[in-house]
């Protein structure tokens, strides 16, 4: 099983860098991170040696960038027909799903790692809490994993990449907004605290913000882990039921 996952992983990673897509994605990700940090997050105006301005916009950054990355995962395979070829190999859908997901996750991790000059910059300006920054990077990686799992599953539903993008962005938005004030306000007026808490507890925002404070709670890890597991399982089920259609 591991051998097959590794094979798919290599094929995917090679695929990213065979075309300019990887470079374009990385450049856009890094450039937009900078825009959000310096212009939207008012990094210099806050005068605080932390990377709050950088990380606080990650959910919104991923909302559009990750679906752009995942839209081709399965939709492209379907469109070009390579999915049939893939499944003629002695390969189970779960192995293909995991291989593709891990490759995409590693690629996102690379993008995230390339933001290290921001960490150096903030360390040169003051005395940041490095533990908080490390936790925030870990949280951001979990968040990206969540978006990727959703995007991967929804990409398997269609052969049209645009539809895959829109679906992934919409579902991702739902997972962000369930912890946002405007949605919770809607419930908080009449629903008991337990219900409001439960709705908020299924939000990317709630768990991501909790980790970016510098504390990695097992409940947060379980949330992201189970979320990824569920969507990847759904991905396998979709592939099983639709095959190469």
């Amino acid at each position: 099983m591991l051998r097959n996952i590794r094979m798919i992983f290599r094929r995917e990673m090679g695929g990213y860098f065979a075309t300019p897509i990887a470079y374009v994605f990385l450049v856009i990700f890094l450039f937009l991170s900078g825009i959000f940090t310096f212009y939207v997050g008012n990094f210099f105006e806050r005068e605080q040696a932390d990377l709050y301005a950088f990380f606080s916009h990650h959910p919104w950054l991923y909302l559009f960038l990750i679906p752009a990355l995942t839209m081709r995962l399965w939709a492209e395979e379907r469109k070009t027909g390579s999915i049939e070829l893939l499944f003629t190999l002695p390969l189970r859908p779960v192995e293909a799903v995991l291989g593709k997901f891990l490759a995409a996750w590693c690629f996102t991790a690379l993008a995230l790692a390339l933001t290290f000059p921001l960490w150096l910059m903030v360390a040169s300006l003051g005395q940041p809490d490095h533990g908080v920054i490390l936790a925030s990077y870990i949280g951001s990686l979990f968040l990206a994993g969540g978006f990727l799992a959703i995007g991967s599953c929804l990409s398997a539903l269609t052969r049209n990449q645009v539809i895959a993008f829109v679906l992934a962005a919409t579902v991702g938005l739902g997972f962000i907004l369930s912890g946002h004030a405007m949605v919770l306000d809607f419930f908080s007026g009449w629903a008991p605290t337990l219900v409001v808490d439960t709705i908020a507890s299924f939000s990317f925002l709630t768990h991501f913000e909790a980790i970016t404070k510098g504390v990695i709670d097992l409940a947060d890890v379980i949330y992201f882990g189970s979320l990824m597991a569920f969507w990847l399982f759904a991905n396998v089920v979709v592939l099983d039921s639709r095959g190469g259609d």
Binding site: P20, Y23, V27, L30, F31, S33, G34, T37, F38, F44, Q48, A49, D50, L114, T115, P117, L118, L120, M121, S124, L125, G126, Q127, D129, H130, G131, V132, L134, A135, A181, L184, D185, S188, G189, W190, T193, V196, D197, T198, A200, S201, F202, T206, E209, A210, K213, G214, V215, L218, A219, I222, Y223, S226, L227, A229, F230, F233, A234, V237, S241
Partner: protein, 636 residues
């Protein structure tokens, strides 16, 4: 069909499992966490754990919370989550000794009525008239209860300490009693009813902090007996105390009770600019016990010098180092003593020097240092700190001599400073035997601490008041109060609160030090230029006067001589030039900051995309060439 239905069912089951696992994880796994913050901000200290596991009776905590605040109104969602998490952690650690109830208070609900009835304070929601609640009530058996009317975000750094103190107060309602013998108005001043009398003064923040934990009993500074039921005696600025009062202090300590004495060679809090009139140095006691606070000397340390804004007629407002005002960091505190081990910053202001002193029959006492200067400490005559003193001169006159002790525990046994027994006072005027009831020697485990400074208690040196959501909030930025509270806790045998108190970070803000330094350097350049300008003004005035004096008496009319006119013109040109230079300094600073920001923006935003772009293009070009080469070879 059946297959796809089965798969749909499978997905539903998986979704249900996802929900159940997360709901369970949220309610069960409330303590399993990895705290990566530098100071372990989210980890309960051992002291708090000991207090929670040792609670004698169950305590009910009622947290009133407006759903709008939890949802992010007023930007409070993270703070609300932090408080809720911490309270859950408290309840988990205390097991069934602490019952946490979270009561929702939406507008016009029963919860709102309950909150009002419990004594909570509501704040108005931004942009609406809705009341928002976020307060905590701790209820013990019977009538024991404590209320935090509103949990302000600015208190978050001291959240654990405040919660632990609250719980301890409910668990152990009998506060320890501290006798306060002070010539400084720590507990405030009531307005005089007489015309022209003293105005009302609020209590110092230190007194408010003490009263949270202790019952403070203010004693007359002429007291001849200290009530024996007190748990500790705190003596502040003992200026010109009568012998009978000093004797009472000594006998209280010799009876085995803890005593903390804060004396000061120059107490600026007294408000007297002449140092010689602002001294408190109970020499009778100290010398009699075998040590001294060196008379008329204060300690200084160039490395620990506090950075202050100094106003001078000649140079205007300047940022300077004041070597007799010291910001003392960890290296200045005893790491063996529980009271000082976890301190990170204490500011002492013109503190005195403690040292052993043998005299006659009295052997030198053993001082166990708690706070010291650095190895390059030095001393000043208090006259050097008078009204005409300037930090520049203090730095110039500084002579390093070694490590000096600023606060110390005094080891017992000590002989009495009153070998003949109680001095004559109002209470024993007619007593035949003055040695009756007199304790001639302290126990070996004497609990006596002397700090050679009182000014550190003043609000301006450790706390600032800010307004948060319309509430005035005291936010400490130095550990001065923690020093005193730690000493009191340790001496009264209550070390458990020292841990949670050390969780309080003095100043959670992490400013851009680089920009601050740039601004300070620019300010120095600005001051230099301004000084130059003043100097030129003085010189021109002198030259002008000289020219005026040199004129023949008959010619001393109102009209100016050509030389005077030239002098004025030169001066005018000078002013214009220096003003231009001043503007240039300011422009330069703005430019420097802007340049640095631009560079950093490039580093953070542009460098990696540029490298990737160039790298990608080069790699792409290489691949194209390679493919062309391969194609050409194949064609051949």
């Amino acid at each position: 069909m059946t297959g796809s239905m089965g798969k749909g069912l499978l997905l539903l089951v998986a979704a249900g499992l996802f929900l159940v696992v997360n709901i369970a994880a949220n309610s069960v796994l409330t303590g399993a966490r990895l705290d990566l913050t530098e100071n372990g901000l989210y980890t309960l200290s051992d002291g708090t754990r000991r207090i929670l596991t040792g609670l004698p009776d169950p305590i009910h905590l009622r947290l009133y919370l407006s759903p709008a605040l939890a949802a992010g109104t007023a930007g409070m969602a993270p703070h609300v989550a932090r408080v809720r998490d911490m309270l859950r952690e408290y309840a988990r650690v205390a097991d069934d000794r602490l019952v946490l109830e979270i009561i929702s208070t939406p507008p016009y609900s029963k919860g709102e009525d309950l909150a009002m009835g419990d004594g909570l304070r509501a704040i108005a929601a931004p942009g609406s008239r809705t009341s928002l609640f976020f307060g905590l009530v701790a209820q013990g058996p019977g009538e024991r209860r404590e209320v935090m009317p509103f949990l302000v975000p600015a208190w978050e750094p001291s959240l654990e300490y405040d919660l632990t103190v609250m719980i301890q107060r409910v668990a152990h309602p009998d506060k320890k009693r501290v006798g306060l013998l002070s010539t400084l108005p720590l507990t405030g001043v009531k307005a005089s009813v007489l015309p022209g009398g003293r105005k009302e003064e609020p209590p110092w923040a230190i007194a408010t902090a003490l009263e949270k934990q202790y019952e403070i009993k203010s004693l007359e500074t002429t007291a001849e007996q200290i009530p024996p039921d007190l748990d500790l005696l705190l003596v502040v600025h003992p200026q010109e105390f009568k012998d009978s009062t000093l004797h009472a202090i000594e006998q209280f300590a010799f009876a085995g009770k803890p005593v903390v004495i804060l004396a000061d060679p120059f107490c600026q809090a007294q408000g007297n600019a002449t140092p010689y009139l602002a001294v408190s140095n109970p020499e009778k006691l100290f010398h009699g016990w075998g040590f001294e606070m060196v008379a008329e000397r204060v300690a200084g340390d160039l490395k620990a010098a506090k950075r202050i804004r100094f106003n001078s007629v000649h140079t205007g407002s300047q940022l300077v180092n004041h070597p007799a005002w010291m910001d003392l960091g960890q290296e200045h505190f005893s790491h063996e003593d529980p009271a000082t081990r976890q301190l990170d910053l204490v500011t002492l202001i013109s503190a005195g020097i403690l040292q052993p002193r043998a005299a006659g029959q009295v052997p030198a006492a053993r001082l166990i240092p708690l706070i010291t200067t650095g190895p390059q400490g030095g001393r000043y005559d208090i006259g050097a700190l008078g009204p005409s003193s300037t930090p520049d001169r203090l730095i110039r006159d500084f002579k390093p001599e070694g490590t000096l002790v600023l606060a110390a525990r005094i080891a017992g046994p000590l002989p009495s400073a009153f070998p003949d027994g109680a001095p004559v006072g109002a209470m024993n005027l007619f007593k035949a035997d003055r040695k009756e009831g007199h304790i001639p020697q302290s126990p070996a485990d004497l609990k006596l601490v002397v700090v050679a400074d009182c000014d550190f208690l003043q609000d301006q040196f450790w706390v600032r008041t800010v307004t948060v959501l319309d509430l005035p909030v005291a936010v400490p930025y130095a550990g001065n109060a923690r020093l005193l509270l730690n000493l009191l806790d340790h001496l009264t045998g209550n070390d458990d609160l020292i841990g949670p108190r050390s969780q309080v970070r003095s100043g959670a803000a992490r400013p851009f030090v680089t920009f601050q330094l740039m601004r300070e350097q620019s300010e120095l350049r600005f001051q230099e230029k301004r000084q130059q300008l003043n100097q030129r003004l003085v010189e021109t005035q002198q030259r002008f006067l000289k020219l005026q004096q040199e004129r023949p008496e008959a010619d001393k009319s109102d009209t100016l001589t050509p030389e005077q006119k030239a002098e004025i013109e030169t001066f005018r040109m000078d002013i214009l030039m220096i003003r231009e230079q001043l503007r240039e300094v300011q422009r330069q600073l703005n430019q420097d900051v802007a340049n640095l920001q631009a560079w950093l923006k490039f580093l953070g935003m542009g460098l990696m995309p540029l490298l990737l772009g160039v790298g990608g293009l080069l790699l792409g070009g290489y691949r194209v060439r390679r493919n062309r080469g391969t194609a050409a070879r194949l064609a051949e």
